[in-house]
């Protein structure tokens, strides 16, 4: 089963976003996976899913 990379969206067209250009050398994983970790760690992500389960 392939797990979806939640922080990669190659069809996304930036609008009012701040854009960063990175050069990365992945550490024995694919470019896509490495790129996913960059976007995750530099924005809202964390290594584990939140268990707070906040409700309205």
């Amino acid at each position: 089963m392939t797990k979806k990379l939640e922080f990669v969206d190659l069809n996304y067209k930036p609008k009012n976003d701040l854009i960063c250009l990175f050069k990365i050398l992945p550490n024995n994983i694919s470019m896509e996976k490495a790129a996913n970790t960059v976007a995750l760690e530099s924005s809202v992500g964390t290594w584990t899913k939140g268990k707070n389960m906040l409700k309205d």
């Binding site: 996304y12 009012n16 854009i19 990365i24």
Partner: protein, 370 residues
């Protein structure tokens, strides 16, 4: 979907381009406190540099959306404002740094500055590591050197500026900048990286009358390694958005590392209104943010002038320290030789030809062969 997951969906960054080893990531503007540079950098240039998922990572460039551009002041003067203040419309500005780097007492410092201005320098700046050491305390140095600037202005009829280094703990730095304003100085200089982004913001947002000269000491710790760190484009972008009026960009020649092609691209990044995308550069429309004047400094002497003007144009500060104070006939002659080299280049006359009728240039060319 639980609430936490909803927040993630709304604010997450998205990788929208992968080409070879280069990736582009889009961050929703809401992710940031818009006028807070440390906050922005803690996301885009924070933990990611140490992640195990990458062997190396370099932040090559950043492009700001309009909403973030609008929350910053940008340069107070910029290129046009500096030219107006200095009454220099077309030629590059000539500057020097007092040498030796450290150790001159205040009288010798002021004297050396005077000779530089007298010979033809427009600006004289402190070295990056001069602050208020015991051998040359800030307030006295400021007063004596500004006195010499006034004297040189009267004698030459040209505008003369002293770029005093105010770099210090932030509150102390603001006190020093206030002294510069009270004494009628035109500029302050700050080591933007060792002082830190927050303190640069404080200095700019204090809205003093002076222009801000940004020295980039420590940049090579971020930008020298081609695979890891932060490109100078990013440092220059944040300096521009906060609002320095001029910033060091390198020389492409002489003692410090840096390829001239990279420096040409960096020059466009800080001096253009609309920056085009290049291999490692993002498009940027700068909107309300004025262009910043580029400063070439480090190991320069008169023989380098044609190369610099050819590659970097006239909207440039050319600074020489050793290349002026090391002149065989002394500091004043050294400044004269640099001005002669600029004049010759703008008049499209070779330096060797011009040196036949200009003895200061002739002496400089004899000493510095390449």
């Amino acid at each position: 979907m639980d609430k936490g997951q909803e927040y993630v969906e709304r604010l997450k960054a998205k990788v929208f381009s992968i080409r070879g080893n280069l990736i582009k990531v889009a961050y929703p503007e809401e992710l940031f406190e818009k006028d807070n540079v440390p906050n922005i950098l803690s996301s885009i240039a924070g933990n990611i540099f140490g992640m195990k998922s990458v062997k190396a990572i370099k932040l090559e460039d950043v492009s700001f959306p309009k909403s973030i551009l609008k929350s910053f002041r940008g340069p107070k003067y910029g290129i046009k404002g500096i030219r107006k203040m200095m009454k220099i419309q077309t030629r590059p500005l000539l500057g020097t740094i007092i040498k030796p780097k450290l150790g001159l007492n205040t009288e010798h410092h002021a004297q050396s500055a005077y000779e530089s201005w007298k010979g033809g320098c427009d600006i004289v700046k402190d070295d990056e590591n001069l602050a208020s050491q015991r051998f040359n305390m800030f307030e006295n140095r400021l007063a004596k050197t500004l006195e010499m600037a006034d004297k040189a202005e009267k004698e030459t009829g040209e505008k003369k500026a002293y770029l005093v280094n105010v770099t210090a703990e932030t509150k102390e730095m603001i006190k020093r900048a206030q002294l510069v304003e009270n004494m009628g100085g035109k500029y302050v200089m700050i080591d933007i990286l060792t002082a830190g982004w927050a303190s640069l913001q404080t200095l700019r947002e204090s809205n003093f009358k002076m222009a801000i000269h940004a020295h980039r000491a420590m940049h090579a710790a971020f930008d020298r390694n081609p695979n890891q760190g932060i490109n100078m484009f990013v440092i220059a972008d944040f300096a521009r958005i906060i609002g320095v009026d001029q910033i060091h960009i390198g020389t492409g020649i002489g003692k410090l590392e840096g390829d001239i092609k990279d420096i040409e691209e960096l020059m466009e990044e800080i001096e253009s209104k609309n920056v085009r995308a290049a291999k490692k550069r993002l498009e940027q429309k700068w909107e309300n943010i004025k262009p910043v004047l580029g400063v070439s400094s480090g190991g320069l002497h008169p023989r380098h002038i044609p190369f610099l003007i050819h590659h970097l144009g006239k909207d440039l500060v050319i600074q020489a320290g050793g290349g002026i104070h090391g002149h065989p006939l002394g500091t004043e002659a050294g400044a004269i030789a640099m001005r002669q080299a600029i004049d010759a280049t703008l008049r499209k006359i070779s330096l060797n030809e011009y040196a036949k009728t200009h003895v200061e240039l002739e002496e400089a060319l004899k000493l510095w062969k390449k």
